[in-house]
C-alpha cells in the first residue's frame, strides 16, 4: 500500500542535515569543547554493592590542596535525581546501594592527575547483605528498597483468564529470560558545567533530553527555572542510555564547577561508562497459554518480572511498556499480564531502545513457536490464525481503527526470504552437516509515543521561527543523536512552509532558546513532534496570509518578503503549537484499559541462522525486516534505523553478555563486552509498507525502537529450527549453546546398559 499524497521534500532521501560537519570531523562533541580556565572532574565510587559508609580518608601522598572535593554535603538543594520517583541520590549520603555508586567528586586543573587521586581516597564500609537477582528480591529476606523491594507493579486484565483453563484443548507453559544489555554508544557520557552567581548553572553535554537534566539541576541547586541552562552538544549515539544518566553526571560536573569556580569537564572513559551507567533491564517472563482445538488463542496468562537495580530510575515506565507489548499482535479474548519490577543491589537499569518491549517480545515470540510445536502446527500458520486485524481489540481493549496488515507483512517476509524452500533445503542438508541451518520468524508491534495519557501530560510545545536575519529555525528540544531528528524535522518544516530544505536550520537544543517539546525517546519524534512542526508551518503560512499578504502560491523571495512585512506589522515571526491528542484516545491508568498508544508500527522479521556444532557458535547468515511504519519520511535514514536496530538486536541475542560479579560489571571493556562488527552483521534486507497515520507528522509513526524488538526471538527460533533445541534465554554465546546442545544430546541418547 503506497501513499498517494504528493510531497516535494518529505519522502525524499535528502542528505543528513549535519552530515557534512560529521564527515569533515568538525562536528563538536562534548570532549571536543574547551572552556576558558576549564578543570576536569572524576568520581570516587562504591566498591561494594550495599553497606554503610563508616569513614573516608585521603592518602597523604597526594597534595589535596590542589584539588576541589565535593560530597553530598555540598549539594545546596535536594540531593536526588528527579526522574519518576526521586529516590536516587546525586551523591551517596551515608549508605551505598550498588557498586560504582558515586560518593565523592574530585576536580583538578590537570586531568592526568585525577586517576591517582581517585585511587587515593579510601572509603571504609560496614557491609550489608546484598540482593542480586529477581528471585532473591522476590523472597524479601533482605529488603533493599522501600517496604518490600517492589519498585512498581501492574496488572492488565481482559476478559476472564481463569474461566477458560477447564475448556482448553491445549495448555502450553514456558519461562523465558533476557539478560542485561549495554547501549555501547561509541561516545561515552560527558558533560561540561559552569557556575556563576548571576546566571546560575549552565551545562553542555552528550544527552537526549535537555529538559530532564534541567528538572534535576533546578532541584539539586535549588534554583529558579531561568537560572539553569542545558545545552545538548553533538551526541555520539544514545539508544536510551543518555535519557536518564546525564542528569546525574550534569549534577556532578555542576557541583564541582560551583565549588571550584571553574568550568569543569567530566567525560567518562569506557570502563567507567560501562561499570557505572544504566543498561537494559534483565527480565523473566512466564507464559501460560490456553488454546482451542483449532489453534485459536483462548487465554494468555503472562507473569513478568524485571530487575530494576538499586534505584527506581525509569523502571516503572519500562515495566509499563513491557506489559503492553507482552501479548503482542494477536487477538485473544482473555489476557492477564501481571508485571513487577524488583529492586536489587545491581547498578540501576534504565532506558534502552525498545524500553521493555524487546524483553517481553522475546518471551512471547519464542513462546508462540513453542505453542505451535505443541499443537503440531507450523509457526507461520499458527501466528496467522491469531493475528490482530482491523476492528479487533488488543489486550487493553483498544479498538484497532486504522488499517492493519500483519498478514501482508508476513507474506512479504516469507517471499523475500524464500522461507519455505530454505526450510525444506536445510531440513534435508542438516543431518549430514556439522553446520545446522534454520529459519526463524518473529511478528510484533511497537507502540509509538508515550504510553496512555503520557503525551497529554507532556503537553509538548514546538514551533518555527523566521529570524530578523532571514533564517528559518525549527524550535524543538528534541535532539539529534544519529537517528535523524535534524533531517526529518527540517524536511517537515520545509514541506509545510513551501521553501527549501537548505533554507531551514535546527535551533540549538538549548533550554535557553527552545520550548519543551518533550524528550527524545519512545519513538515519538517524527510522529508527535513532527506533527507539531507540520501544524506550526501551516499556522505560520496562515499568519503570513492574513497579516502580510502572502499569496496562495509564492516564491521563496515572496515568502521572506512577507515575513519582513509581518515583522514590521506584528513583531516576531514565530509560530508555536501545542500537542493535541488525536480524537478517541482514552486511557484508564488504574485498569490499564483503553488506547495504550495512538498508533502502532508493525513488523515481521525472518532470520537465517547457522549453528556450528564443532565451535558452538551461531551466526546470522541473512536477515529480512518487513515493517509498516506509517509514512517513510526519508528512505535512506529510515532504512539505516532498521538496519542499525537489527544489528543491535543480533548483538542482544548472540554476542552481548553483561557479566556481573558481586554487582559489579566484570567485563567492562570493549575487549570482552562484544558487539557485532562489520564481519558479523549479515546482509539485512529492509522492506517498508506505508499506511500514513493521520495524526503523525506527514503520516509518520514511530520507527526507532521497532527494529530492536524482533531479532532475538527470530534468531533463537531459527536456532531451534536448526538444532531442535529450544533455548529460552538470551544472550546465547558459544558457551551457552554448548551447554544447551550437550544437555539435549545427553537427554536424547539411549540410556547406557
Amino acid at each position: 500500500m503506497k501513499t498517494t499524497t504528493t510531497t516535494r521534500i518529505v519522502g525524499a532521501p535528502v542528505h543528513r542535515k549535519e552530515g557534512v560537519d560529521k564527515l569533515l570531523g568538525r562536528a563538536r562533541y562534548v570532549d571536543d569543547i574547551e572552556r576558558e580556565g576549564m578543570w576536569f572532574g572524576a568520581t570516587v565510587r562504591s566498591t561494594i554493592p550495599r553497606g554503610i559508609i563508616q569513614s573516608v580518608s585521603f592518602d597523604r601522598r597526594i597534595d589535596w590542596s590542589e584539588f576541589v572535593i565535593a560530597t553530598a554535603a555540598d549539594v545546596p538543594g535536594d540531593n536526588h535525581i528527579q526522574l519518576i520517583v526521586a529516590d536516587q541520590p546525586c551523591l551517596a549520603d551515608g549508605i551505598v546501594n550498588h557498586c560504582d555508586e558515586p560518593i565523592i567528586l574530585l576536580a583538578h586543573l590537570d586531568k592526568h592527575k585525577l586517576r591517582e587521586a581517585v585511587d587515593a581516597v579510601r572509603v571504609e564500609y560496614q557491609p550489608l547483605p546484598p540482593v542480586f537477582t529477581i528471585e532473591e528480591s522476590e523472597q524479601q529476606k533482605q529488603v533493599v528498597w522501600g517496604k518490600d523491594n517492589l519498585l512498581k507493579s501492574f496488572v492488565l486484565n481482559k476478559g476472564d483468564v481463569d474461566s477458560v483453563w477447564g475448556d482448553a484443548a491445549h495448555i502450553v507453559e514456558g519461562e523465558y529470560r533476557t539478560g542485561a544489555q549495554e547501549h555501547l554508544y561509541i561516545e561515552n557520557n560527558g558533560i561540561i558545567a559552569e557556575w556563576s552567581d548571576e546566571s546560575g548553572v549552565t551545562v553542555w553535554g552528550s544527552l537526549q533530553c535537555p529538559y530532564y537534566v534541567h528538572k534535576t539541576l533546578i532541584k539539586v541547586f535549588d534554583l529558579p527555572d531561568n537560572k539553569v541552562r542545558v545545552v545538548q552538544t553533538e551526541t555520539g549515539g544514545a539508544f536510551g542510555g543518555k535519557e536518564d544518566y546525564p542528569s546525574i553526571l550534569a549534577s556532578h560536573a555542576a557541583l564541582l564547577a560551583k565549588k571550584s569556580g571553574h568550568p569543569v569537564k567530566m567525560v567518562y572513559d569506557r570502563m567507567e561508562d560501562l561499570a557505572a551507567t544504566t543498561k537494559r533491564h534483565p527480565s523473566r517472563t512466564r507464559h501460560r497459554t490456553a488454546l482451542d482445538k483449532d489453534g485459536k488463542l483462548l487465554a494468555m496468562d503472562i507473569d513478568l518480572a524485571t530487575d530494576g537495580g538499586a534505584y527506581s530510575t525509569l523502571s516503572s515506565t519500562v515495566l509499563s511498556r513491557a506489559t503492553l507489548h507482552a501479548p503482542g499482535p494477536y487477538s485473544c479474548p482473555n489476557v492477564r499480564v501481571t508485571a513487577k519490577a524488583w529492586a536489587t543491589n545491581n547498578v540501576p537499569y534504565g532506558a534502552f531502545r525498545g524500553f521493555g518491549a524487546p524483553q517481553t517480545i522475546f518471551a512471547l515470540e519464542r513462546h508462540m513457536d513453542e505453542v505451535a510445536a505443541a499443537l503440531g502446527m507450523e509457526p507461520v500458520e499458527f501466528r496467522r490464525r491469531n493475528f490482530l486485524h482491523q476492528g479487533d481489540t488488543t489486550a487493553t481493549n483498544q479498538l484497532m481503527r486504522e488499517p492493519l496488515m500483519m498478514d501482508e507483512l508476513l507474506d512479504r517476509a516469507l517471499k523475500a526470504s524464500d522461507y519455505y524452500a530454505k526450510r525444506a533445503r536445510f531440513a534435508a542438508e542438516n543431518p549430514n552437516s556439522m553446520v545446522k541451518r534454520g529459519m526463524g520468524i518473529a511478528a510484533f508491534y511497537h507502540g509509538s509515543g508515550f504510553t496512555g495519557s503520557g503525551e497529554r501530560i507532556l503537553n509538548s510545545l514546538a514551533g518555527v521561527e523566521v529570524t530578523a536575519d532571514g533564517v528559518v529555525q525549527v524550535l524543538v528540544s528534541n535532539t539529534e543523536f544519529g537517528q535523524g531528528t535534524n533531517t526529518v524535522l527540517t524536511q517537515i518544516a520545509a514541506e509545510a512552509l513551501g521553501i527549501d530544505y537548505d533554507d531551514i536550520l535546527m535551533a540549538a537544543a538549548d533550554t535557553g532558546l527552545v520550548p519543551n517539546s518533550g524528550p527524545t525517546v519512545a519513538s515519538r519524534t517524527v510522529m508527535v513532534v513532527g506533527r507539531l512542526i507540520e501544524r506550526a508551518g501551516t499556522q505560520l503560512l496562515n499568519m503570513l496570509r492574513e497579516h502580510a499578504g502572502l499569496g496562495a502560491t509564492y516564491t521563496r523571495e515572496e515568502f521572506f518578503a512577507a515575513c519582513e512585512r509581518y515583522r514590521k506589522a506584528k513583531g516576531d515571526v514565530v509560530s508555536l503549537v501545542r500537542y493535541e491528542a488525536p480524537p478517541g484516545i482514552h486511557w484508564d491508568d488504574a485498569k490499564y484499559h483503553g488506547e495504550a498508544y495512538p498508533s502502532y508500527a508493525w513488523s515481521v522479521h525472518v532470520a537465517q541462522v547457522a549453528v556450528d556444532t564443532v565451535t558452538y557458535s551461531a551466526e546470522v547468515e541473512e536477515f529480512w525486516a518487513v515493517q509498516e511504519v506509517g509514512r517513510v519520511l526519508n528512505p535512506v535514514l529510515a532504512t539505516g534505523q532498521i538496519e542499525g536496530g537489527v544489528a543491535q538486536g543480533i548483538g542482544y541475542a548472540l554476542y552481548e553478555k553483561v557479566v556481573l560479579k558481586d554487582g559489579h560489571m566484570a567485563n567492562n571493556q570493549m575487549t570482552n563486552y562484544i558487539i557485532p562488527t562489520a564481519e558479523d552483521v549479515p546482509p539485512i534486507h529492509v522492506y517498508f509498507e506505508e499506511i500514513p497515520f493521520s495524526h503523525g507528522g506527514y503520516g509518520a509513526k514511530g520507527i526507532g525502537e521497532l527494529p530492536h524488538d524482533g531479532p532475538a526471538p527470530a534468531i533463537v527460533n531459527a536456532i531451534k529450527d536448526a538444532t531442535g533445541v529450544s533455548f529460552r534465554q538470551i544472550p546465547l554465546l558459544p558457551e551457552d549453546l554448548l551447554t544447551g546442545l550437550v544437555a539435549h544430546e545427553q537427554a536424547e541418547a539411549p540410556a547406557s546398559l
Binding site: P13, V20, A27, G236
Partner: protein, 169 residues
C-alpha cells in the same frame, strides 16, 4: 597543556609540525590536545573500536595505542586532511549520499579505514570491505549503509560531484 617532554617532528595533513610531548603520550592526545584536531575521536582507549584511526606512513593505526615518539618523522593523515580543493573526498561524498554516517562519532575513523582500503584495493569485494572495516565499530548503522558507501566510492557509480564545503582545506 604540558610543555615537558621532548620535541617531536612530523607531518600531519601535509603540514610540518613540531610538538613538545612526553614520549609515551598517546598520539591521539597529541592530535586532539596539542594540535586541536578534534575530528579524531576516542571510543575505548584500548584499540578495540577504531574511532581514533588515523593513517600513519601509509598504515591505518589506532592512535590511542601509538606513543607520540613513534610519530617522529612520520606522515600522518586525519579526517581533517581528507577534503581537498574545497570539496569533500569522494568517500565522504559517498557516505553523505548513502547514509554512511549516523551519530558521526565513529565516522572519522571509519572514513580513514575506508580511504585506506580503497587506496590499497581500488575495487574491493563486499567481503574485502567487511574485513577492511572490521576494526572500526559502528553502533548506529548496522554497517549496511557504510558498505554501500564504500562500494559506491570505489566504483564511483551514482556518486555526485563531491559537495563544495566552506572552510575545508
Amino acid at each position: 597543556m604540558s610543555t615537558t617532554g621532548r620535541a617531536i617532528h612530523f607531518t600531519i595533513n601535509g603540514e610540518s609540525r613540531t610538538v613538545q610531548a612526553p614520549p609515551m603520550k598517546r598520539l591521539l592526545d597529541v592530535i586532539r590536545e596539542d594540535l586541536h584536531l578534534t575530528g579524531t575521536k576516542e571510543g575505548c582507549g584500548e584499540g578495540e573500536c577504531g574511532s581514533c584511526s588515523v593513517r600513519m606512513n601509509g598504515e591505518l593505526v589506532n592512535s590511542c595505542l601509538v606513543p607520540a615518539m613513534q610519530a617522529e618523522g612520520a606522515e600522518i593523515q586525519t579526517v581533517e586532511g581528507l577534503a581537498h580543493d574545497g570539496a569533500l573526498h569522494r568517500v565522504q561524498q559517498a557516505f553523505l549520499q548513502c547514509g554512511g554516517a549516523q551519530c558521526g562519532i565513529c565516522t572519522p575513523g571509519m572514513l580513514m579505514a575506508a580511504v585506506q582500503l580503497i587506496e590499497r584495493n581500488p575495487h574491493p569485494s563486499l567481503a574485502e570491505i567487511r574485513e577492511g572495516l572490521a576494526g572500526n565499530l559502528c553502533r548506529c548503522t548496522g554497517f549496511m549503509r557504510i558498505f554501500e558507501s564504500v562500494l559506491a566510492a570505489a566504483t564511483n557509480e551514482n556518486i555526485a560531484e563531491p559537495k563544495k564545503v566552506e572552510h575545508a582545506r
